[in-house]
Symmetry: C2
Subunit: 337 residues, 2 copies
DNA sequence: CTGTTAGCGCCTTCAC
DNA sequence: GTGAAGGCGCTAACAG
């Protein structure tokens, strides 16, 4: 391994001078700098960050804790995070919690040990509060994205769940629907709670009574929603929903697939609206969706994080709410319109 | 920051003993181990990897260099890589080269500096050879996935491009096609070359003359293939293709979208087959595809890499070829079948 | 089984 | 502008 001493010897300077060159110190004469740089290049020297970190306590490594990189929403988040991190000279450590607090905790210890300068995190659920406290104890800044944690005050990049859900539900109501079901993620996740609350509030505002049989708590993972849908279909005619609100992409995709499999016409028999369904295939999508700014969750999140790390952020925690865009498509539009 | 000395003092042992407990050394009495572990827990001690790495030269960090995490193929690779890495106690640094050698090189320096124990890499193109040499010079093992590099002998996990392409093309020939176009990625990428060669060979074997007007070199990024397709459509009736072979997912998706936009019926006017198109939406796909074992590229790749790092691999480089699965669908099936 | 000594590669501090 | 000394937190090598 080539060290600064090797460079120093060959360039006839002290190690300290080499260090100054590497760190782009101003107080170096043009001549010695050129000389040192030449040797660095010649010997293919690359600084050893471990040694550096030991002193500076900075690794230039950020951790991205998401629930699943396989979820297209988080894939975009990751891409945004990585673009900004790279641009600012940071590297990104990838962690998938799989919506699981224990797995998240394990990663947390690893990333503290590694010496992450900061963490961008979409927490698994409300339990993650413990992990946030741990980060704070270790003096590691973090930014929450997508999901908030009760009583945790920190920089956040969130979605306008209340407004977007309301618009989605009001759209269904305008289309004549009264029996609207919701297939949701677990209520220990803030986004699930917020979307459900807005769903309930919107129905009430429009004088529609809330039927608990139409509220299904499922998962945000790419899991089976067959049971939830079967239960909805088994409801007596008078209760059976004419529309379904899917609160994330996996739920939305799988709901559509199951309805097709049951030969249920969308939207004639059941209309469907969903959060976040990407159009990654050859077909034009027919699904009405609320598209969140996934890329910006990552991009802006990393920006806030780095500002915080580098002391460029205001003391007060910042909360950024990114609006979603609703795409109205066939899955929720009446023929007669 | 809590150090081993804090633990040592409080537990009335030497720092060395604490170090042994952390590293699960056998030569520690049950009693002192318990005592030390208690203090570690009490003080919330987490080892400083930077200090550790400085001595051991091991970081337990692996780098994953892919061209774009946004490409669903690589998303699966990443997920497989991460699962195996986590299982083996390693963390994963994410790098997107964007099919760009310069960007890849920049990451390469960063990851060497950080001290990656190894690199799993889908190289940007043949130029990446320089980066492989650099890794070798720094004694960092790497495993090539998906794409090979001429004259680089190392562990590899590759796809059966020759056989799968042949089956795809023979399927089209069986369907009666003689004018088959290929829209390919850049030929500086090994997979593009292999698929193109197999396309040519298969045509020849079946006595079909190769028409260079039907061979289009495009990109593997999510870029525009409009021009390529337009050129194909502008061909005189006698040359115009009746089938298109798209060599990756983005090309496949975009080809389908453009054909739809041109109101060209698939497969009646033009049949389409593609590599790797995921079905991430609510619709059932109609596209005939060769599905690669993306997850296993990552999972097995990391396994080979860790074996290599930990000295558990045979000296001779291993080459693993994962077969693809062809899904025949409407986009390439004649009505009359 | 446990402790002592030395040093990993670099940067901080303080001289010159 | 440049250099010398010391130490970051930890573990290898050795001693007992």
């Amino acid at each position: 391994m080539v060290t600064i001493y090797d460079i120093a010897k060959k360039a006839n300077v002290s190690a300290m001078t080499v260090s100054r060159v590497i760190n782009k110190s101003e107080k170096i004469s043009e001549i010695t700098r050129k000389k040192v740089e030449a040797v660095i290049k010649e010997l293919n020297y690359i600084p050893n960050n471990s040694a550096r970190n030991l002193i500076t306590k900075k690794t230039k490594i950020l951790s991205l804790m998401i629930t699943d990189i396989g979820n297209p929403f988080f894939t975009s988040v990751a891409r945004g995070a990585e673009d900004k991190a790279m641009q600012m000279g940071y590297q990104l450590l990838l962690c998938n919690s799989d919506e699981n607090f224990e797995k998240e905790s394990k990663y947390m210890d690893m990333l503290i040990s590694t010496g992450s300068d900061g963490v961008l995190i979409a927490p698994a659920n409300d339990n993650s509060k413990k992990n946030m406290k741990k980060l704070t104890k270790h003096g590691i800044p973090f930014v929450l994205i997508d999901r908030r944690i009760p009583d945790i005050d920190c920089d956040q990049v969130l979605s306008d769940n209340e407004a977007t859900t309301r618009r989605l539900i009001e759209h269904l109501i305008k289309q004549g629907h009264r029996k609207i079901a919701i297939i949701n993620g677990p209520l220990v996740v803030s986004t699930a709670r917020e979307r459900q609350q807005s769903y309930i509030d919107t129905l009430k505002i429009h004088g529609i009574s809330v039927n608990n049989d139409l509220i299904k708590e499922s998962h945000f993972r790419d899991s089976d929603v067959t049971n939830s849908i079967q239960e909805l279909l088994n409801l007596p005619e008078s209760e059976r929903p004419t529309a379904i609100f899917a609160t994330n992409n996996f739920i939305g995709m799988n709901t559509m697939k199951i309805l097709y499999r049951h030969n249920i016409k969308v939207p004639e028999e059941i209309a469907v609206v969903s959060y976040d369904v990407p159009n990654y295939t050859e077909n034009e999508s027919i699904l009405t969706v609320a598209e969140q700014q996934a890329y910006n969750f990552g991009y802006i999140g990393i920006q806030l994080l780095i500002e915080r790390i580098e002391g460029a952020a205001p003391e007060k925690a910042r909360k950024i709410v990114l609006p979603s865009e609703i795409h109205l498509r066939a899955s929720s539009l009446n023929q007669r319109d």
